[in-house]
């Protein structure tokens, strides 16, 4: 019994620690997404040579980050306040927001399953994935500064 209580407490603590600051956590995810998109962008723009392994690594990062986007944990009620650019529309239309997140998950998983094999294909993939970024930020982010 005591062990069970300890285990539950530990779990609870771990849970609290992981999502102690959902605003910071979701920002870190978005930063990581931006960095991965930037790696694809450098190849798409010809600033970096095509490198299949680097492309796959960037796509994998995007896909793993997408999988981490647990809307309930990262966007709990009340976190439209504070140092955030999240729009109140997230909480007004949770289903619509979840649909955008699900599409991002599906699109990044599909890109990992069939990664682009040349620069032109990287451009196309980045363009298609980028529609997810803008598509969600169009409605669910507010530019504040």
């Amino acid at each position: 019994m005591r062990k069970l209580i300890l285990a539950i407490s530990a779990l609870a603590l771990a849970g609290t620690a992981a999502f102690a600051d959902p605003i910071a956590d979701r920002k870190a995810l978005m930063k990581a997404n931006g960095k991965a998109a930037g790696q694809l962008g450098a190849i798409a723009k010809g600033e970096q040579p095509f490198d299949a392994a680097a492309v796959l690594a960037a796509l994998t990062t995007l896909s793993e980050d997408a999988a981490k986007m647990d809307v309930a944990a990262l966007f709990p009620a009340g976190t439209d306040q504070g140092d955030t650019t999240a729009s109140p529309k997230i909480w007004e239309d949770m289903a619509g927001f979840q649909a955008k997140v699900d599409k991002f998950k599906a699109d990044t998983a599909a890109a990992v399953a069939a990664p682009p094999q040349d620069v032109e294909a990287v451009k196309a993939t980045l363009g298609a994935l980028g529609q997810n970024c803008g598509g969600c930020h169009e409605t669910f982010r507010i530019k504040k500064s």
């Binding site: 931006g34 960095k35 998109a37 930037g38 962008g41 723009k45 306040q81 504070g82 140092d83 729009s87 980045l126 363009g127 980028g130 970024c133 803008g134 598509g135 930020h137 169009e138 982010r141 507010i142 530019k143 504040k144 500064s145």
Partner: protein
């Protein structure tokens, strides 16, 4: 007649004179015959470029349209502003519900003078205060292109505006203050040629200043803070400073700006957001030279610090 009576008569006479002057000054001003003749024959193929530059579909397609549906200009988008709610009308070529019955002259008077075929002022939510700088040939080309789009049935709802903004005639006075086809910015003599092409696209059809420039309480643009960014007309956000001043995009190269307009990614791979998403989709449809021209112009405009107040620090526990 006592003093009070005399004063009352004087007030009525003066008030009447004032009203007469206001009525005269607020009259819609149409294009003259020479300007109409200058429109010429439109070319629908060339007009498609003007259509994307002008961003017509961002407001006039049904809200949330994607793909080919962006060419169905049924209207219906609501702009909730401090003046009230404006609703974008149907401007598809439908003869009754859209603008299919309009002549080229009607169209040009709407675009360049903000006057409807019935002789009424349009509200400047329709950005004719930018479109007024457009070349006559581009107006004719755009008219020809829009004729090729699908006719969509159904009128959009009317605007919902409170007094005094619901009196269209008053806009004639507003136009006397703010409607000008002169360039906003004087570019330096040595400015690159494509910066001048960009000036036309930004100040004219692109109507970038309508959101990126702060406004006076009258709704007129503060041209001394041109493109300095502004509090968004809708919602809580801001529209960014796109000059090279503090808070702006001075650290973006021309290539960065052109690339953003093409792909929607900022130099540090943040993405486009808000109402700029629809604008960027339009800009992506332009020839690359046009995006480069816009970039060259933005690099050449006078730098300003942000045209919106600094963000309030987050309230603890708030």
């Amino acid at each position: 007649m006592g003093l009070i009576g005399k004063l009352a008569v004087a007030a009525v006479l003066l008030g009447g004179a004032g009203a007469a002057v206001a009525w005269f000054l607020s009259a819609p001003v149409l294009l003259d015959a020479e300007a109409v003749a200058a429109l010429g024959e439109g070319d629908a193929t060339k007009g498609e470029r003007i259509f994307w530059a002008g961003g017509c579909t961002s407001c006039h397609a049904r809200p949330k349209s994607e793909g080919p549906a962006r060419l169905e200009l049924a209207g219906g988008l609501e702009l909730k502003t401090p003046f009230g709610t404006f609703v974008a009308p149907n401007i598809s070529p439908h003869p009754q519900d859209g603008i299919g019955g309009w002549s080229l002259e009607d169209f040009a008077n709407a675009m360049l003078r903000g006057v409807s075929p019935a002789g009424e002022h349009y509200y400047p939510a329709f950005p004719y205060s930018s479109y007024t700088r457009m070349q006559p040939a581009d107006i004719a080309d755009l008219y020809a292109f829009m004729k090729t789009l699908p006719a969509v049935e159904g009128k959009a709802a009317g605007h919902q505006l409170g007094f005094p903004f619901n009196i269209r005639r008053g806009l004639g006075l507003w136009k006397r203050l703010y409607l000008s086809d002169e360039p906003v910015v004087v570019l330096a003599d040595g400015a690159p040629e494509n910066a001048r092409a960009g000036q036309y696209l930004v100040e004219g059809p692109g109507h970038c200043g309508e959101c990126h420039t702060p406004r006076q309480f009258t709704g007129g643009l503060k041209k001394d803070q041109w493109l300095a960014g502004a509090v968004a007309a809708e919602g809580d956000g801001i529209v960014p400073n796109i000059t090279s001043g503090e808070g702006g995009i001075g650290d973006w190269s021309g290539g960065d700006i052109a690339s953003f307009l093409e792909t929607g990614f900022t130099p540090d791979f943040d993405s486009v957001g808000g109402s700029m998403v629809a604008v960027q989709k339009n800009m992506a449809m332009l020839p690359a030279a046009d995006r480069e021209a816009i970039a060259a112009y933005l690099k050449a405009v006078p730098p300003h610090p942000n045209g919106y107040p600094a963000r309030q620090p987050a309230q603890p526990g708030g």
